[in-house]
């Protein structure tokens, strides 16, 4: 104890102060170099995931409306006999599984006008869901919601709020989905659709939606029997509805 106390007083001398600053400097250097390395590798990883969008086929533009009456869902084919209400969060991994299984079938239903599909883009997973949901509404305005939706799930990061759904990357996803206009870019950058994003999120309570993905056929909640998603089950449920 005594020795250590003396050592402490000795360490107040000029020489040791120099060592201390040297050490602090080295720590700062290591930490900042490491952080920069992390940011750079993060960027290159994002670029890699965009590679999966190479050759993405953009479909024809489709008019979508946003109806406050149904919780500001992105609504396509109003007036069709059958209705599908789809509740999804852009970051939810299970929604991605759902999309990879049933997405193409639903796209076909929309494009062939066989169903009135309402996409409720909700954002309860965090800030990045809000940004992505906003971009989804921007895409709907320009008639490319389906393409944006598909592309967005193709590059969905496995981790939530990990810095992937940035303005820059959302604009980039849009580019692949045929959204090259300045108005789309502005809409994403300025988060112009925040009101709609909020209304959609708040409507979860009204419709008693507790998680995503949730599907309603003609207003009736779909309860699947299989633990995973099976296309045949979904198709049959739609046909029966």
């Amino acid at each position: 104890m005594v020795k250590q106390a003396k050592a402490q007083s000795a360490s107040k001398s000029g020489g040791d102060n120099f060592t201390r600053w040297l050490v602090i400097g080295m720590v700062v250097l290591v930490v900042s170099t490491g952080a920069i390395f992390s940011v750079v590798s993060q960027k290159s990883k994002a670029n890699e995931s965009f590679a999966s969008l190479d050759g993405f086929k953009v479909g024809a533009a489709i008019t979508a409306t946003v109806d406050p009456a149904n919780g500001s869902g992105i609504t396509i084919n109003t007036g069709a006999v059958k209705t599908i209400d789809l509740w999804e969060d852009p970051q939810c991994p299970v929604c991605n599984t759902f999309e990879q299984t049933n997405g193409q079938y639903i796209d076909d239903l929309v494009r062939s006008k066989k169903a009135n599909v309402v996409y409720h883009v909700v954002s309860f997973i965090g800030d990045e869901s809000v940004s992505a949901a906003n971009a989804a509404y921007c895409a709907a305005d320009e008639g490319h919601y389906l393409d944006f939706h598909k592309a967005m799930y193709l590059v969905q990061p496995s981790l939530e709020n990990s810095g992937f759904y940035t303005t820059e990357n959302l604009v980039k996803i849009g580019k692949y989905a045929g959204l090259t206009s300045q108005s789309f870019k502005d809409c994403v950058t300025k988060v112009s659709k925040l009101d709609l994003v909020k209304t959609a999120y708040d409507s979860m309570t009204t419709y008693k939606v507790q998680g995503t993905p949730t599907v309603f056929f003609n207003g009736k909640l779909w309860e699947r029997k299989n633990s995973g998603f099976v296309l045949d089950e979904f198709t049959a449920a739609f046909e029966a509805s």
Binding site: K3, Q4, A10, V31, S32, A35
Partner: protein
């Protein structure tokens, strides 16, 4: 107690350095090369705005590694111990904060991280408690090192000791 400490202090100091340094090094190394995981884990605490949380997530593993190396080799051990204790205090505060706000997450302490679904609430709360106790123990190691930074197998030795030899 005092004489016990006098007798074994250099060894206790070494052990404390290796425990705190070892845990920090492992935690840092497991996360340093998975930046998006680390950034996501930090954001999941919902304490900092997402952008700032990401930067913290990128830098934190490297800070842990830097502190760990200083502790293990015994260079500026007192300074490193203070840093280590502060980091542990921040971790404890962060876990208490998520617990109090009812957020369920994997702490991401050794990689991983992110939200956990509500069905596992009991397990998560148990994990929070264990994490707080663990970090408390590590903070105590740091505190001990603040008072007794010089021990066995250390690069830096107190000037007094060098003079005596």
């Amino acid at each position: 107690m005092k004489s016990f400490n006098n007798k074994y202090q250099p060894i206790i100091t070494l052990v404390a350095r290796l425990i705190l340094g070892g845990v920090l090094f492992t935690a840092g190394a497991l996360k340093a090369f998975k930046p998006s995981e680390s950034a996501g884990a930090t954001a999941a605490y919902k304490i900092l705005p997402t952008d700032i949380a990401h930067v913290v997530g990128y830098a934190l593993p490297w800070l842990e590694i830097a502190i760990a190396i200083l502790l293990i080799i015994g260079l500026s051990a007192r300074f490193a111990a203070v840093m280590g204790t502060v980091v542990m205090a921040v971790f404890i505060a962060a876990i208490i904060s998520v617990w109090a706000r009812g957020i369920l997450i994997d702490c991401g302490c050794f990689g991983g991280g992110g939200a956990i679904d509500p069905t596992k609430a009991a397990q998560v709360h148990r994990a929070y408690l264990l994490e707080i106790l663990r970090d408390l123990g590590l903070a105590l190691c740091g505190l001990y090192l603040y008072f007794f930074p010089y021990g066995r197998l250390s690069i830096e030795k107190p000037l007094q000791v060098i003079e005596e030899q």
